[in-house]
Symmetry: C2
Subunit: 319 residues, 2 copies
């Protein structure tokens, strides 16, 4: 062919799906005027997931204008009140708003002992179905999966059975260069194979190598949530190389004894996990109520792992 193919070799990722975290609460058990109890939202692939649901979570959703009706499912790390006392109010509100779609709640199975009496008393005729899916906090397991994402739980090390969560995009097919497909008049029936990496042969037998026809897909992004937990290097294999790690940093270093006693982490310990797991970015949270401002925690973490940021209510992290 005498015509030069168009110049489209400049590398660029195709438009990626939204993958963002919104912090609704990053305090610990004692609420303060600075921080609410634990909760955050993960927006991924047009779905809205919630991790933990401390008291006031639905109020925080209102404050930060997140669409409460879009909630896909809820993941409860463990059954301490500051991670779960917002559930009854949230469920009642979803009921008042007339939700119809099932709501999956992934949680340690003991949630039923107190949650069922509340549900049957306050919401005996709920407008939607709640499926409680029991987590197994003793092992790594995939708990939700579709064509494009995978959510897994894995063991943390706390006073009671506690799960961390890993949100991952799946490997995506190569992204075709539309203008090259047009230029070579490649029939639509061949597109799927090209997206999977095959080369193409023109009618005259000329080889068009796959890299001429496609961009590499964006690397799959990963987010890990680890709260509450003591310093626990065993989790590193689960969170290796994630783009963003949220790790609790309840205490500063001068409270290390208290951290160990209560199965929490210091900011430095959180950073050591981040460093050892080669994560790209660390967000620390679950701050003890004793800190009026958390710079001491940030500084201690950054002395080990530079790319650290303090969680804060309303903070949005784009992956």
């Amino acid at each position: 062919m005498g015509i030069k193919p168009p110049d489209s070799q400049t590398y660029r990722y195709p438009l990626m799906n939204q993958f963002e975290i919104t912090i609704l609460g990053c305090g610990s058990a004692l609420p303060t005027t600075l921080h609410n109890p634990s909760s955050q939202l993960v927006r991924l692939n047009q779905k809205l997931f919630m991790i933990d649901c401390g008291e006031g979570t639905q109020l925080q959703m209102r404050k930060f204008k997140t669409h409460i009706g879009k909630l896909h499912s809820i993941f409860i790390s463990h059954l301490h009140g500051d991670h779960v006392f917002g559930l009854p109010g949230l469920i009642s509100t979803l009921d008042l708003l007339g939700r119809t779609g099932d709501l999956n709640i992934y949680a340690p199975k003991e949630i039923e002992t107190f949650f069922k009496p509340i549900l049957s008393y306050f919401n005996p005729h709920l407008s939607f179905k709640i499926n409680i899916i029991a987590l197994h906090p003793d092992k790594f397991e995939t708990i939700f999966e579709n064509n494009s994402i995978r959510i897994s739980s894995f063991p943390l090390k706390h006073r009671i059975a506690t799960c961390g969560f890993l949100f991952e995009e799946k490997e995506r097919p190569l992204h075709i260069k539309r203008e090259m497909i047009d230029f070579y008049h490649i029939p639509i029936t061949h597109i799927k194979a090209i997206k999977e990496g095959e080369d193409f042969y023109l009618a005259d037998g000329t080889l068009i190598p796959n890299h001429t026809l496609t961009f590499p897909a964006a690397p799959p992004r990963k987010y890990a949530y680890c709260s509450d937990t003591a310093f626990n290097p065993e989790m590193i294999s689960y969170i290796e190389g994630v783009d963003v790690l949220y790790h609790e940093a309840t205490f500063a270093e001068n409270e290390t004894a208290r951290a160990h006693e209560t199965y929490h982490s210091t900011a430095r310990e959180a950073a050591e996990i981040a460093k050892a797991a080669h994560v790209k970015k660390l967000i620390v949270g679950h701050f003890s109520s004793r800190y009026q401002e958390n710079d001491i925690l940030l500084n201690e973490a950054m002395s080990v792992f530079t790319n650290t940021e303090l969680a804060n209510e309303g903070l949005i992290i784009q992956l």
Copy 2:
């Protein structure tokens, strides 16, 4: 006696004990960014009482710097979530703070069906004792009483059994004029009788009438809480002449049908109760989430009862 007694006839009340209401939440079932679910504090005679405890109540106490450790007891009007979902978090916080004194919770007896499973799961070793005292929402009864105050519950008219609450000071003894007691050299053994209204005779038989020796005590103050309730003239006898009435006003007049259907009141209906009960001041609250601002409710109430004020989070009402 030739010496003129001191001039102390100017009427003045003795210094009164604090009697004030702090609004922590005055929204209805659907929370908004403007209003929290129901809760308020009553400070009376050095005691701190709570009425209702919607989700986020403990966070509101922090925000308005009320001393959470001073809480004497809690009164739950009825078992709808927006009046009670803040209890588990509040109890957990009191436990973390190491409270030791008993906490009395006055509530419809069905509270045990869901509250006991929560307590036994989250706080099996509570640092203090909780006494649940069953209310009888079908009748007027005094539920707390000491030398100086009396708290009673009375029936409201809602979808489920609901109590209103009346907080009253008791009649106090006359207040002696110290300078007159000194002037007439009245022995301390006679003071009690004079405070109860008796006259005094000098050694020469001269009558000193009681009104020369005492000021009248301040009239006892009264506060009534009526939420949630449909328009219900039967409650008027219980709240007759109170200094402040808090009455729900969920809806404006154009939603009268909806108010009747849900056993709530319009602002005008709240004002009609206030007027018929000859209360001194009306506070309206429990606003529907549909109102971005509540002036329509205020105006409709004031067209019937002028001395009306809108509740708001953080509002303090001195009686």
